[in-house]
Point group: D2
Chain length 399, copies 4
């Protein structure tokens, strides 16, 4: 065992705050007790604020994000239903693939990896779909494989412009609770998330926010479902119970997570993620490297996918950092395997923590013979964090 804490900078699971960790450290519980709803009913209400939604329901399944995608599709669609989506990374690809497997009629627009949702193409397809055959439009809010954040609000505008009634479904696994998301304002029907990213918990809950409209679709939707059934859940959730034994430790963790997020303030959480991410991007600049995300508008505040120079293998960066320095980075997946390595900078993160990743990457790149000067990335990040620190302007006077 390597001495010291392992440095975890993957784009999820994220680092576990102490309070959340102990919140989950509960004995076994009677999930049918009269006291159980004291935990769950407020939880169902309060988690809506994280999605910025005022109606609908947030479903909590023992599961992962992938399970949430399945819940979204099977509760609202029928075999053969037309679905519009776009693929520009491993996770947008996988959700599209799931649509196919469940017999949906998929229109998946291929987009270069490094770009985001092609809003204009979406607009064209929606405008052209006079018969409203498209039942759902899928958006991967934050593509974890490439560090690309897409513009969900713009997709809503395209739907509205076309007067199109398709449901808007969002993969918010690596954005919710880290990057601004507005269920109500953006007219999102379903947003899928999980516990292991912005909620800062271990994997284990599929979190599926659904609008009243989406819930209403269950009566028509013919895809088979039991485990992920909205109807079964709603029947018992309304009194604070579940149709099968829930993962109670994670429910306590989620309670603590929401409280922690709200104590910091959701907007402050977003600003903190942006500030940390900007420092990482300054470091990438200082190293003379490029992000996979092709334009600033697509820069993700939760994960940065960094292109290695020609002739180098990004996989070696990840492997060397892990073995030599006890640093976990994200590897490039699928089309960008070997081309990018990823720094996850979401969740319970601050400026000194991220220094571990930056220093570790610098050391690793130099070990591997890349032309990067020692300390320049860290220095660039330091200067950014100093300038942007709360109370930064008044320091010199006071000092």
């Amino acid at each position: 065992m390597r001495a010291g804490y392992h440095a975890l900078f993957i784009p999820g699971p994220t680092n576990l705050p102490e309070r959340l960790r102990t919140a989950m450290f509960v004995p076994s519980e009677d999930q049918r007790s009269p006291d159980f709803p004291k935990l769950t009913v407020p939880l169902f209400n309060d988690i809506k604020r994280i999605f910025k939604m005022s109606s609908g329901h947030v479903f909590l399944y023992p599961g992962s994000g992938t399970g949430g995608w399945e819940a979204a599709l099977t509760n609202t669609l029928s075999p053969g239903d037309k679905v519009l989506t776009s693929v520009f990374g491993q996770f947008s690809h996988l959700w599209a693939d799931m649509c196919r497997r469940h017999g949906l009629n998929l229109d998946a627009i291929e987009v270069p990896w490094g770009e985001g949702v092609p809003v204009e193409t979406y607009a064209e397809r929606l405008a052209a779909d006079k018969n409203h055959e498209i039942k759902a439009v899928l958006v991967c809010h934050n593509e974890t494989a490439t560090g690309v954040t897409s513009d969900v609000a713009a997709v809503r505008k395209a739907l509205d412009a076309a007067g199109h009634p398709a449901m808007l479904m969002v993969d918010g696994v690596s954005s919710i609770a880290s990057i601004d998301f507005r269920m109500d304002e953006w007219g999102v029907d379903i947003c899928v998330s999980g516990t292991q990213k912005g909620f800062m918990l271990p994997t284990g809950l599929s979190i599926v926010a659904a609008s009243d409209r989406a819930i209403g679709e269950t009566t028509r939707a013919k895809l088979p479902r039991t485990y992920f059934s909205f109807e079964d859940m709603l029947k018992l959730n309304k009194d604070g119970y579940f149709p099968y034994t829930p993962a109670t430790p994670l429910l306590h963790g989620l309670r603590a997570s929401i409280d922690l997020l709200e104590e910091e303030g959701l907007e402050n959480v977003f600003a903190r993620h942006h500030r940390i991410a900007e420092g990482v991007r300054k470091a990438v600049d200082a190293w003379g490297l490029k992000l996979c995300a092709r334009e600033p508008k697509w820069h993700s505040d939760t994960v940065s996918a960094i292109l290695v120079p020609e002739g180098f293998d990004a996989g070696k960066v990840v492997s060397h950092a892990y073995h030599r320095y006890g640093l976990s980075l994200g590897a490039g997946l699928s089309k960008v395997a070997g081309k990018v390595f990823r720094i996850g900078h979401l969740g319970w993160m601050n400026e000194l923590m991220i220094m571990q990743a930056l220093a570790g990457v610098e050391m690793t790149m130099r070990d591997l013979g890349m032309q990067v000067e020692a300390g320049v990335g860290v220095a660039a990040a330091e200067e950014h964090y100093r300038r942007s620190a709360a109370g930064a302007s008044s320091t010199r006077a006071a000092a």
Copy 2:
């Protein structure tokens, strides 16, 4: 908050052993790291011993037992496939209901609640099914709602006698790791379990043991599936990884659970459950009450459903015990609501622990005006435990 520990005697989630609890208390982890398979590969192998299987695979999904049922069906069956099952309690009912929802052609034999799988009827149906239209035979090994254990080996015999190739699928949620189960010997194709019963962990993993034969069926099976797909799991599990982020704390918990079970010895674990359960049954006798399970051959060693005398409401037993004495019992479900209350006596349990349940039930019954003498149930259990204690015979001589 009531002082002292809450007394948890529901049939799951069960009491959490200290070692399992701390085993799960891990920081966030890199589930794609080169070290991760050091945890998972041995886990995949070692858990087979708990099911007494030597080939096939045990799938571990973030999920619950219900999810495991869905995995069993969707990976091996196609819409319209004929399934033979029997219903004699809430859980056998729910699995049958799931079959219907997924478009299977269900033959569900209704059996009085309190009895188990009707082996002769199964034998008749199988013998009559000359064309082998029945693709799967379902058995609820231990019906948690009624405290009834069924004879899985007898169902295998019926299949063999009929020369019938149907798959044998078992719900082992409340039996595995508490009551003897033999995957290989009984020719079981799929056995579904979860973490929160005999494995003594929180809810959170669907545990699905599948034979090679069952795994082979995936190529034919047309029910849609992604989250619970055997194929996706197998592709990554073979190297120790998962197709989506696994619930790592529970994997560590499961590791510790298997170790704990094997340190005690699986046969000793079964014997302990039987001994504890016998003490409870002695107490029920002493109280002058009857079990819901109609015959000794159906007595469950993990949960006892106890019939209250005519004119009393079993729901009040559960409620009074909870509020007055901090004791969680299982309520009667569905058809037996109000008629039975249940004492869960599985998992991390010993003879002094169960005294809390017995004393609490005695006090509750007397509070509610039932004709039960104080202490008689406890006394009967004490005498049983004394006689059956390890080393009991030699005590008087030594004392």
Copy 3:
């Protein structure tokens, strides 16, 4: 390893409430940080309410009750100072012995074990001490070895009646936070306690409550001291700091302990201890046995020392209960070794928990051949707890 939880019914350390356990589960901390006093300053204030004191100070040393005794003596006395005490059990004996070792001039009244502080003899000695040579009067509030609680208020009255200025020092290790204690009203100068009894925490803090008068004595007291020095502590405690690194996890635990005690209500905590203890005494009666405590006025609500019949070895009760049933009882110490076994019933305790001890003792006694009927102790306790339960009178009507 024996399955199930070990049953812990020793008179300390006591069972750890979940909340206290997780409260102590903190990362390492900067004990000189500007935020640290936010924990400690309220703690110093709030713990006074547990002692029912409004001035003075409560000292918190990394240590145990024994260390607290030493703090009491060395901070307030000088070599050769006369001290009046009485010995009627192992713990009153040990404190007296410590006085001798530190060169104090000890007047230790020997009292039969099973009785408490001899108030009349104290009164005589004090009245006779016209020159006020006695500097301190020692009282063991609750003698853990014999289960005897003494009358501290009566000692105060004896002091007042004699117009005697001696300090009144109390060993409250196994009484504080379980049995009523009134620092101010009884004019106690020093009361020594620890974390592992009524505070329901692990061993690790000596808790020493001192009046302003006792603190004032430090200027005169010549016994050498550094580690336990009141002066060093006070100098830093006033701002929330410590003269050496404090045991921070236990400080967090103590914070949670005080909160838990006050949520239940201190008087309710005392009443609960009395109710639980009465049930144990009913069981002892039903077994036909006697307590070591000779009169009801001395019955301790935190521990019962039970005399075994002639011809039996109490040590075998303790040993058999431990090995056969996983039950920890207290053994007889020193003069009462082999004659008594002890049931600790203090701390985080309720009526179902204590049933484990009672049933385990019954089974043990029968295993060892004592003439005790199965279940009678439990039955007697059940009936007591039923009658004395909150809301007991209204049950039948409602049922």
Copy 4:
């Protein structure tokens, strides 16, 4: 609450390894049970290896390092005994002060802060002490206030050269388990340590290693003692028990700590501390600053005390780092208050962790207007760690 983990770089308490943390997470325990010695007896033996001693005994008191000092003195010395020591920092000062308070006849050599034990002066005093009036020679192995490590072996040589029988007592609080220490080889009679530094646990145990010779002195030593009495401890420790309730969670923690240290290998632990410390010193050089330790021979591998330039207040460095960046550093104490800040780099530490301290100090110094270039300290440390990493030389070839 500030987001992200707090960065703890004080010279103790040190960061808590996960394994040690969960090892301490135990329920309450019966410290008089027949199983308890299974924990304690191997612990008493195995901890000797950490001190490199083969006889004598290691005493474990609920307490802190200060308590350990008191145990050392009171068990082996009598009032008026002559003690030789030297003062060159806050902790050597405090131990000397304790000697005075306990009535010892102290010869305390004042040494400039930044230097270590004056071996030649010791040699002179010992040679001059023909009547062997000096009963004990005290050495602060690692002065935590100034980051100075002294040469214990040289003091042993001075004693031997003078043929002087005085006991050699060492304060090893911030050296044991981090910096090489050899009880037997150096002929040390008592070495005092605690849990919160190299043992990587919370504060709470005084750890006092004593030679047989030191233990033998108890029969002569007349300083009063009870709590810290060697004799009382030995009487019970020999069978695995304690004279009063021990702090059991910390005993479990200590067990895990020894195991962790030995898995890494004690010499590897020392080498790791040296490597980390060297990186810090490279950073200090790069910043153009000086250590308080005046010569390389005194450089401590566990803590670096860094002098701020004239005109700056080191207290502001500590305060700014804490408030702005969530970084805990050690402040200057007593004579060096305002002149130095300290980086603790001992315990569960690695090269990426220390980057947090270095980056945080850089940012802080720049915020406060010091002439330090961004990133230079981190860069210097990076280069040192790269060169000195295990397997560093072979990297380029492999990459």
